[in-house]
């Protein structure tokens, strides 16, 4: 079977989504326990039985052979497994991989899942794998990953006149969304000045420009469009998804103001037959405040260099002109090491109209954008409700 990827538009859909317990789950739950919690809840959301899962997509920094470990824990025997490991964006990429596998007849019901207890177990970021290759960065004392993103932010400020206040707008907007999300981790008041006067981690980024360190797990279930229409919840159809990566370490990034989202974004839009103007709600991987600015530009929501002014004045906060990171994002909702799966969960809930006080009106098309590594891996997916297929 060989087909044009565009022919896969709308052939698969997300039919079940759920988070595990989030925040700080304590010392007596493991990352696999969180995967278990999220999977049970997502199956219930979809109205599917565990025995129907025959494809498993899982990446983790907490256990080896991720799909093998997760399958054993869940008590399932998948006939298709994928543990692509490109950082936090991995889970958005799994939407595309699952679409390929389902269309090829290699599996029927795909479970995408993630779990991390980095806050309870480690108190900080737990990275994947032990690096056995020489680092050309660590001898110089960067605080990774923060410094990589700080270098990008400094360059953006230098080239385009972006200000720290504009970066802080991103964090403040995320906090305002989080205040509308009962399960968000950080819901206290946050003003621009609070961000600016917080502890500087790696200039120009303060601790409030940086994502949370939380526990958390998630599960997303994907199946064929036909099957999806027979299930419990309105399907969120996968309209197009694209992946790109140009570097791993930040010193190898060709231009620190242009990410590979400039490639994944246009490709995803082309596959979906959509443009940025068609998007009703965005979930952008905001590991750091600069991410949101870079992705708004690279995905075509404003011109290169103009995201600072674009987000000013609460433009991406509740009531603003463009709803971005309606869950509160990695900055205020949760960030258990890899955030990609939570972008999908929120996008699907927005398309279903389940988001209560933070619900976007008339949400038919959602953009999900995952980031991995040091602005390295970029994955864009467009999801839509029944009206879009």
């Amino acid at each position: 079977m060989r087909t044009d990827e565009a022919a896969l538009r709308g052939t698969t859909a997300v039919v079940g989504v759920a988070e595990s317990d989030l925040g700080e789950v304590g010392p007596h739950l493991s990352s696999l326990d969180l995967i278990g919690q999220a999977t049970v809840r997502a199956l219930d959301d979809a109205g599917l039985d565990k025995s129907e899962i025959d494809g498993l997509f899982c990446h983790s920094a907490f256990f080896q052979l991720p799909p093998v470990a997760a399958a054993e824990y869940l008590g399932i025997r998948p006939r298709y497994s994928d543990s692509t490991a490109v950082g936090g964006s991995t889970f958005v990429g799994y939407l595309r991989h699952a679409t390929a596998a389902i269309n090829a007849g290699m599996c029927d019901v795909a479970l995408i899942t993630y779990g991390s207890t980095q806050r309870s177990a480690a108190g900080g970021l737990v990275s994947s794998g032990t690096p056995l290759t020489k680092s050309y960065e660590t001898p110089f004392g960067p605080r990774l990953p923060v410094t990589a993103y700080a270098l990008a932010a400094a360059r953006h400020m230098y080239q385009f006149g972006t200000t720290r206040e504009q970066l802080a707008e991103v964090a403040v907007a995320a906090r305002k969304w989080a205040q509308l999300n009962p399960v968000a981790f950080d819901r206290g008041e946050l003003a621009i000045d609070d961000v600016l006067s917080s502890r500087m981690v790696s200039s120009p980024l303060t601790v409030r420009d940086c994502c949370l360190v939380t526990d958390g797990g998630g599960a997303v279930i994907v199946t064929s469009a036909e099957r999806a229409r027979s299930l419990r919840r309105p399907p969120a159809f996968i309209l197009g998804a694209a992946e790109a990566h140009w570097h791993k370490d930040i010193f190898q990034m060709p231009d620190l103001t242009v990410t590979a989202a400039a490639e994944s974004g246009p490709r995803a839009f082309e596959l979906a037959g959509l443009t940025p103007a068609d998007v009703d709600v965005l979930q952008l991987y905001d590991a750091f405040s600069i991410n949101t600015l870079l992705f708004l530009e690279d995905l075509g929501f404003c011109k290169k260099g103009e995201a600072g002014p674009f987000v000013a004045g609460g433009a991406i906060a509740p009531g603003g002109r463009l709803p971005v990171n309606t869950s509160g994002g990695g900055l205020s909702y949760c960030h258990p090491g890899m955030f990609g799966i939570f972008l999908i969960i929120e996008a699907v809930r927005q398309l279903r109209g389940e988001c209560g006080p933070r619900q976007t009106a008339d949400a038919h098309v959602a953009l999900v954008h995952g980031n991995g590594g040091m602005l390295s891996s970029q994955v864009t997916a467009l999801l839509g409700d029944e009206s879009t297929v």
Partner: protein, 147 residues
């Protein structure tokens, strides 16, 4: 290809560190080890491709630009421009600048600018390499180029 060739610099063998030159390493197939061995002998060199002529960093067995394995080492002039900078202020130590430097030969690398306060390191600053010998191996750092 000299697969059995040891990565230790020729200059070590007769104890005359100063005689080491990059030409001792042409055709060497242990890129990381050679880069480090040269630095340890106060030589900052880059791999340059014999096919496309471009330098690259970090060292590897093929040219990342054209894929050729015809590589040789050339001493860098050590001059470059700060592409970006971030200051880190540890609780119990002096602030330091982590920088990305664009070398005049093309490659970009991560390093530190030393010799001026971290807060004075600006994007666009012209810098010159200064090899710093450390316990864990020599590194190429940079100082302001006042020439």
């Amino acid at each position: 290809m000299q697969l059995s060739r040891p990565a230790t610099p020729a200059g070590d063998r007769d104890g005359s560190r100063s005689v080491l030159t990059v030409t001792d390493y042409t055709g060497e197939v242990h890129p990381e080890a050679v880069y480090q061995a040269l630095l340890d002998h106060d030589v900052f060199a880059l791999p340059v491709c014999g096919q496309c002529g471009r330098a690259h960093y970090s060292p590897r067995v093929l040219c990342p630009h054209c894929g050729s394995t015809s590589l040789s080492w050339q001493q860098s002039a050590g001059l470059g421009t700060v592409y970006s900078t971030s200051t880190i202020s540890p609780r119990n130590a002096e602030p330091y600048a982590v920088v990305l430097v664009d070398l005049d030969e093309g490659p970009r690398l991560m390093s530190n600018v030393v010799g001026i306060p971290a807060g004075e390191v600006q994007i666009g600053l012209r810098v010159r390499a200064r090899i710093v010998q450390r316990e864990d191996g020599a590194v190429a750092m940079f100082e302001e180029d006042r020439a």
